[in-house]
Symmetry: D2
Subunit: 252 residues, 4 copies
């Protein structure tokens, strides 16, 4: 079912009749890497490219991403494939540089309560992908979107990515029920991220299907040509065969 | 995908090629009530009848169910429709009387850690439906089944019914990811209960679909002809139109 | 502050002016072991003896306790020291045999929702120690006591032993705030179990103090002469020096 | 027990032999209000003044605080009483203005994962009070402090303020066990905020005592002369009599 307030980026409609598939590496590692993944992902049927250039890491000693340099790599991949790009921004001071290049700004789970960032992101007048805080109630998540709207953008897409629970088999507990609720309460598109939602590669395509069955307007996955070689989140990154399996679910 | 160790009750296979739909009232209120619901549920396409005769209630002053008298009501409904019946047992002292009548014994969420009951239920040599404790890890849930097996029954079906989280919009947080995991780890059938899993009527058919998409071997729902008149759990009980909507998902 | 409804076992008042210290092994392993621990615990200042003869274990293949044979070991330890004894019962069928020997029946965390057991325990007309379910709300816990009262016993003591959260450093998250709330709402004594509440030996005396500062009517700890040699819960069992440290907190 | 790395602000040592009491209004509403509260709090024995000028509110339509104008009100209160001041900063762009005035910068619970803010706060070379994210593991919390240290400040004080659980009687579940653990693991001072930790006025002094018994280096509370008239958090704001009760716990 189409969302009341669909959001279009680079010609791709989120919240329309057909769900979108957003795929790409956890971290942008080099221009070559991201172009190769973008081409493979496009061939597999993905319609939007994701790639992290700022990585929110629990430990400050871990790899923090390429930073603003990664923007040109993402732009080159868009050039090469035509896929619109979305990337996470964590620092208000990077918003303008990112907004000048990418098609959609992403607010990550750790920053869902970072109201200064939300409002400033909205002021960029770009579509914003708002991930759910991993312990956010649905009410808090929906009100966080109001900070973006107050900033100036009404092009908001929600992304359920799992909540924190006592269970340790999976990285998070994917709250699929959030999809129909937030869609109904807000009228905005809601997509699902089964990569962070499960943290377990073989579960990613299965949970993508479950999310789509619950009405998700799209799926966002970490995908790579050789997942085990990824510098971050390798254990939850899928390969192109799994990506095609997900794409098949949304074919008309 | 069929389960490795399917369980058959009254000619109905759980864990086979086609998912089952278990439906019926939260509480058995009278013979007339349960026969009427059983007939309507059968007409809607349900293949197993559920109905509570012992109700685990947080407050001892609340309605506790008809007790053993309810067994004859369930038996009459099976007689009238041919549907096999499943009911919850909470007290070891009721196991024999219940096992003599019903086709499948249910262990409810509150009693998943009641190891004495689990083992004694297994000793009845009847199929057992084991609901997940609302704060049980998957490991604890799967090991609880080992208590049943140790008691004497290998005919075990798991039922995911939601876990406790900080979210208050829904009664519980349905952990759909549990379905593929427990199915893979144990080889046993896993079904989903979106009634308790959500506690919200309009979400029941949507989440039933999501569970089936994740590979559930069946759906268990509270259903009634006039849901709003139910003495317990009215807010999450679906009507026959919603039940038919769920049945349509499993039609070949 | 004294509780409105104190409970006395073997001459020891729970909920009076002075907090009690309940100590003893996780599992009763032999008569010699439990007598030796009881004597050492008494010398250290403990006033009640605990010891498990039925052990609720997640995995049915783990050591399940000595069973009813353990009762005579507990009785011998009481004989040798004069300390009243409390032990956990998990199976209705063991209630009478246990109630004939022990001074107080314990309902463990896993069985807090086992309403049949609660009511039957109350019918023994013995004092009952009711542990909080590890995911029970305060309301559910307080209403569980009503099942015991309905069974026939008003001598009920609550025991906070930690709740399940996302944190993994400790075994559970000790909810010390529960102590003043339940004491105020019910008027009954509330004690604290920092052994299960933390699962970490060096934290046990510190958290015992914190619980007493919040108004706990007593502390229940797993203690042994050589904690590292215990067959179960060794990592959270304290030695006699730590036990004396706790006793010093309650000295007038 | 003194902390290994104590932090001194305005002559007041946090992590020394004597715990500190930080008190003040939830929100700075006017210069008159904050001076009056500061004088009363000082008379009651508090040694540091707190007061929010930027309020992180779930709903963007709620009162967001006086903003930078509030700084002069806080400075006037310090002038009038000599109490050092601490206030929360949520936006990198406000750091310099705040650091020029206050004695200690506070990072609130919602921003514990806002690594850009943490690092920039550290670069102010001011003492930083780091509240625990309401769903942060202890490891994540301790590593968040490393972002501050990496920014340039080693004067870091942790503040436990409750975590999110399923319990609804209290606003959060105060995790008192976090105090001894973080103190031991990091050597830095750890204080407790029972106002947000409970959200219930009568529980504030009791839980302050429990935290101090567990080794907290101080207590931070929302206090006012007429708590019920506060524009935010009135239900958890204590009056001066309760504040004196807390101060008495730390008297030598």
């Amino acid at each position: 079912m189409a969302a009341k307030y669909p959001v279009t980026i680079g010609g791709i409609c989120m919240g329309g009749e057909r769900p979108v598939v957003i795929a790409g590496p956890c971290s942008v590692e080099s221009t070559e890497q991201v172009i190769a993944i973008a081409q493979a992902a496009k061939a597999a049927g993905a319609t939007v490219l994701r790639g992290g250039i700022f990585k929110p890491r629990t430990d400050p000693r871990d790899f923090q991403g390429l930073g603003l340099e990664g923007l040109s790599a993402l732009a080159a991949a868009r050039e090469a494939t035509g896929l619109p790009i979305v990337t996470e921004v964590m620092d208000i001071r990077h918003l303008e540089a990112c907004a000048a290049v990418v098609d959609m700004l992403q607010i990550g789970s750790r920053n869902m309560y970072n109201y200064a960032l939300l409002q400033a992101a909205g002021a960029m007048r770009k579509p914003v992908l708002l991930k759910r805080g991993f312990s956010a109630t649905l009410r808090e998540w929906m009100l966080a979107a109001d900070y973006i709207a107050r900033g100036g953008s009404e092009d908001i897409v929600f992304c359920e990515r799992g909540i924190r629970s006592f269970e340790t088999y999976t990285r998070n507990t994917l709250d699929i029920t959030a999809i129909p609720i937030v869609k109904r309460e807000t009228g905005r598109p809601v997509i699902i991220d089964p990569s962070h939602g499960t943290g377990v590669r073989w579960l990613v395509p299965i949970m993508a299907k479950a999310g789509l069955a619950a009405g998700a307007d799209g799926v966002m996955v970490e995908a790579a040509i050789e997942p085990d070689a990824a510098v971050s989140d390798a254990f939850q990154t899928i390969d192109m065969a799994m990506l095609r399996e997900i794409v098949r679910c949304i074919e008309p």
